[in-house]
Symmetry: C2
Subunit: 337 residues, 2 copies
């Protein structure tokens, strides 16, 4: 394969970005012995060329000692030395910190500017908070796509060929999982041959439990993104989604069962009410399973060290397709034939 176009390389590199990649050179850096009056004189010059929010205090080796906010300088005596009024133990981003981690740190703090330091605590640069927040918005907004196999780097401006290369592999994965669901249906070909009406209801069963599971999945992923999911609460989340699956399956199952009953009666089937019961029971069972899967899949992906959103919807659909159509056709085989 020939050399990649430059634009693509940049985008791919962006996924391994560190805090150091985003920083600009430090400005407003002073020695600890400088007085407020001396600093103000220098700031008068510096602010002509640069936008300065904080002053940074470093030792002769460049090590970050502290930070002075303009308000404190304004309120201090002109002869006060910076080391007297500076804030110590300044929060700084390590140069090598992955961007994703830097975003999390910034989210908690929300400072206008973050100093970036190397392994020895030497001030290497500054990152404006808004830059990190723009990155965070890009990050969070990628979730819905990640669930169905769209990479974070794809944007509206991504060329068609690149979009195809990025999305297509997950569609082939989806196809493999769809074959698994088809194989389950295939087991019941004899049942379907005797009761073709069941085939008509297969998409209803699969679609309903799939959407129930997707609701659970979306809520779980959002909780992880916003930091709502505290350690030790995973069990409660899974239980809640299982319960929700039960009740949603029950009420939707009643509608679906009625639909089945009416349709079967219209077709002159003898067992119409039993068919409705099969639809209801299968709906409840498969919605419980897909609710549980919707919570368990992102938790498992996270435990495995993967992005919890990645292809989660594809895995979920497999689980809910197999469960819903498998249970529906099993019950039908046992009760109706």
């Amino acid at each position: 394969m020939p050399v990649q176009p430059a634009a693509d390389s940049v985008k791919i590199a962006a996924r391994n970005e560190t805090a150091g990649d985003l920083m600009s050179p430090p400005v407003g850096v002073f020695g600890p012995q400088m007085t407020v009056a001396e600093t103000v004189e220098q700031l008068r010059e510096l602010t002509r060329a640069a936008f300065i929010t904080y002053c940074y205090v470093t030792d002769p080796a460049g090590k970050l000692l502290g930070l002075v906010v303009m308000r404190d300088m304004l309120l201090a005596r002109p002869e006060a030395r910076l080391e007297e009024i500076m804030l110590r133990d300044v929060f700084a981003l390590p140069e090598t910190m992955p961007l994703a981690d830097a975003l999390k740190e910034a989210l908690v703090r929300h400072f206008p500017v973050y100093p970036v330091v190397d392994g020895h605590g030497v001030l290497k640069g500054l990152i404006r908070g808004e830059r990190l927040f723009a990155e965070r918005a890009i990050e969070i907004s990628a979730q819905a796509g990640a669930m169905v196999g769209v990479e974070k780097e794809e944007r509206l401006s991504t060329p068609l060929k690149r979009s195809l290369l990025l999305r297509h592999p997950w569609l082939q994965v989806n196809l493999v999982t769809a074959f698994v669901a088809a194989a389950v249906v295939g087991v019941f070909e004899d049942t379907l041959a005797q009761l073709v009406i069941l085939a008509v209801f297969l998409p209803v069963m699969a679609g309903q439990s799939g959407n129930t599971g997707c609701q659970a999945l979306a809520v779980a992923l959002r909780g992880m993104t916003l930091g709502d999911l505290k350690p030790g609460t995973e069990r409660a989340l899974v239980m809640k989604e299982g319960m929700l699956g039960f009740f949603n399956g029950l009420f939707v199952g009643i509608s679906a069962g009625l639909g089945m009953f009416v349709y079967a009666t219209m077709q002159g089937e003898a067992n119409a009410w039993l068919m409705g019961l099969v639809a209801l029971t299968a709906m409840v069972a498969s919605c419980v399973i897909s609710g549980l899967a919707g919570a368990l899949i992102p938790l498992t992906l996270k435990r495995l060290g993967a992005d919890p959103a990645t292809a989660s919807s594809i895995f979920l659909t497999t689980a809910s397709d197999v469960a819903s159509m498998g249970i529906f056709l099993s019950l039908a085989t046992v009760l109706l034939l």
Copy 2:
């Protein structure tokens, strides 16, 4: 129905929140004739009790005239008056501005604090930027859920009963749309009775085109969220997703067609190769349709004034289910019977 519990009322009210609901009382407010020296004296007292980022200058009626940054005060002569050094034409959020619009304004500016004014320009309060950004993260992260009928207000801590009430109506909507898809399949009951093998492939057709459409949907919604979708580019977006649907459908259709051919051969069907061709053709056509729908649905919702993500995945699934199974069974009826 009895009075709602307080917690719920708050959450429901939150959806119509304005900038005024989020503001805290203004601090650091001074007259235009005050000198820098006088202001600094007052700030010395004020900063003991409050965190002050900017000074605001108002006329006797409370109307916002300007804003003074600490840096400019530090660099000014002590006898300078605030009106000499203040920034005029300060950006302020109207008290009645909906929160969603305030978030957009904040996104472009990223100031640490925003003044809030009433219709006469009178300073009513302040909102810290971090507060708006926390809201924005909550907003964006709701998208994946909104697509499948999860309300913005639902969080991990939402009680089970409330989650059920919030999510269930969309599941009943989904069921109605699933019945539409079932009705399409029902039209072809005779075809299915003669070739039960087709029923086995129905979930494959529906699942594949559904996922292709969901990829398009997620990319379109993300583009809208991040402001990538410029007016006049909608047509290009729809065309691109149609093309992507074609190529994705073609390559996935080849795999699916091969799967159909192999399975049909194993079952001893005479027309195995023709069945594979039906699967391939239907896959291409339905992926084009679901790709187009994935782009058109959020654009249409937006044009109608609705949130483009709301239940978009439910509408999309209906379109792709009807298209994929309808085309597949139509072609099979014409070519195979």
